[in-house]
């Protein structure tokens, strides 16, 4: 099987409100999959179901080869997650954060020590390894957060608006990390509000009002919507949306 994620009629209701409305799609192994949508379109809810912290109302999905409804814990061992809300411990230093997350993913102390060294070298953070995370600039935190989410070498990494609020150069560097992960065979599932980032994805889906309104390569989408950029594609689709912010 060549699919990393296979989603079938996945639905989440909060009372009468249908946040995610019977969506179906699949993501290939090693693919960089962009998951777009306006605020309130339901993309974060959909992602939370896929990473197993929100229980679907109906429908099913297979993530990393495991049935979402039956083996949520197996899925968790095989995926990484980095959220828009920065999720390292600000009052721990870099080494302590690496050790903690490595530890709860079941890495041995030896493995953790090796990985820490490699990671610090790659991100060029050796000199600040004993500094509290709260003292780091946002861009460094996000790169560190990504690398720690990858510490157990998951087969799929979920990124929820990972580059919010950082400058274009740091964003570019962040995407270098994403490409590298993808080249090493990791499937990347990423949500973003930046349309230039959407162009970096191999395939893009755009959610409107809880449904997937379009799904294709950026090139094909631009052709289909007779648009010059992803920006225009997004506007054409999002303009018809009935709900904006939650």
């Amino acid at each position: 099987m060549n699919l990393a994620i296979e989603v079938n009629e996945l639905t989440k209701k909060f009372g009468d409100f249908v946040a995610v409305d019977h969506i179906s799609f699949s993501v290939k192994k090693g693919e960089i999959f962009g998951f777009l949508g306006a605020n309130g379109a339901g993309k974060t809810t959909a992602m939370k179901m896929l990473i197993g912290i929100s229980i679907p109302t109906s429908g099913n999905a297979t993530v990393a080869g495991f049935d979402l409804n039956r083996y949520p814990d197996k899925i968790k061992q095989n995926i990484g997650y980095m959220s828009q809300k920065f999720s390292l411990y600000e009052d721990l230093n870099i080494i302590e954060n690496i050790r903690f997350y490595g530890g709860i993913y079941g890495l041995s102390r030896k493995e953790i020590a090796e990985k820490s060294e490699k990671l610090l070298e790659k991100l060029d953070l050796q000199s600040v390894s004993k500094s509290l995370v709260s003292s780091l600039p946002l861009g460094w935190k996000q790169k560190l957060s990504f690398s720690i989410a990858m510490i157990h070498e998951p087969s799929i990494i979920f990124l929820d608006e990972p580059t919010g609020g950082v400058d274009p150069i740091t964003r570019r560097q962040f995407w270098d990390l994403i490409y590298e992960a993808s080249e090493n065979g990791t499937t990347v599932f990423v949500t973003t509000h930046y349309m230039d980032e959407a162009e970096y994805c191999e395939r893009v889906s755009i959610m409107v009002d809880g449904k997937i309104a379009a799904l294709n390569t950026p090139k094909q989408l631009k052709q289909d919507f007779k648009a010059a950029s992803m920006d225009e594609v997004f506007y054409q689709l999002a303009r018809g949306a009935k709900r904006s912010d939650h």
Partner: protein, 372 residues
Amino acid sequence: MRTILFLLEKEFAQIFRNKAILRLIFIMPIVQLIMLPLAADYEVKNINCSIIDHDHSPYSRRLIGQIEASTYFKLVDYQQNIEGAMPKLEKDKSDIILEIPQNFEKDLIKEEKATLLIAVNAVNGVKGNLGAAYASGIIRTFNQNIRMDWMTFPKMNPIPEIRISSIPWYNKMMSYKIFMVPGILVILVTMVGSFLSSLNIVHEKEAGTIEQINVTPIRKHHFILGKLIPFWILGIVVLGLGLIVSYIIYGIVPVGSLFLLFSFAAVYLIGTLGLGLLISNYADTQQQAMFFSFLLMMVFILLGGLYTPIESMPEWAKVITKFNPAAYFIEVIRMIVLKGSGLKDILPHFFAIGCFAVVFNLLAIWSYRKQI
């Protein structure tokens, strides 16, 4: 097991880096133990007393002299009539009015009885009541002294007298502080158990790190143990510290077994930690957790027998105290520290607190959700 070690390592690193928590743990017991017993003292002194003497006789002056001589009263006012004395009472300047009627001395000698009026400002009920009681005590003594003066013919006045003398056991000086300090230790331990632990967990919710944890394959009970063990240890440390402080400041040496005391505290802490976890499961912000813990602490303190004895509460309140874990620990710590009670004496309390620990933790684990 390995997971728990990583959790503990992280938790302790955070606690030792958090100045607020450290201050709370080390300074709070010392300050509370010094301040609270001094402030929450039931001994009332400096009761302001107005006197109206209609009699102006040697006996009335003798009575006034005795009231003046006691350390409890401060004479603030002499008036001719009750109307003159009332404004001071109304303005809270005096707490009690003693009115000596005309012919007080004459009635006392001729009729062998006389009436005195004590008017009490009951806004501060404790002060008023105790003031009236102290005044009655002084009048009684005065009365006895006068009888002694007259009893020239004992045959004619064979009124038998019963004297009651009491020996205070377990707290020989009847010191209010010795009674209060162990109870305050319970409040401290409770605060660490329910308050700090719930704040800590809710903080992770606010920071978003709990979401990150929920995405990992970590087991629910591992996460909960990783949160509870550090605060369990802190609670035990705070109790030990508090005992040392109360020895240094008040010279209180527990009469009973320290081992028994700490064993009880260990079980009690498991219960309060479960309660803290329960609070954090329902609170989304630290404010919510704080307000709810505060409310609980008020109930624990006021209906726990710390200030007012449970025996004198109304029936409905007594029922509530049965469900107040702090009430059991307050009773037990007083029994062990002051009286030297053994395991056999506190077995029912042990059983009750064990039930609390099981119920609170089961509820907490049941309501903790990794998923929404």
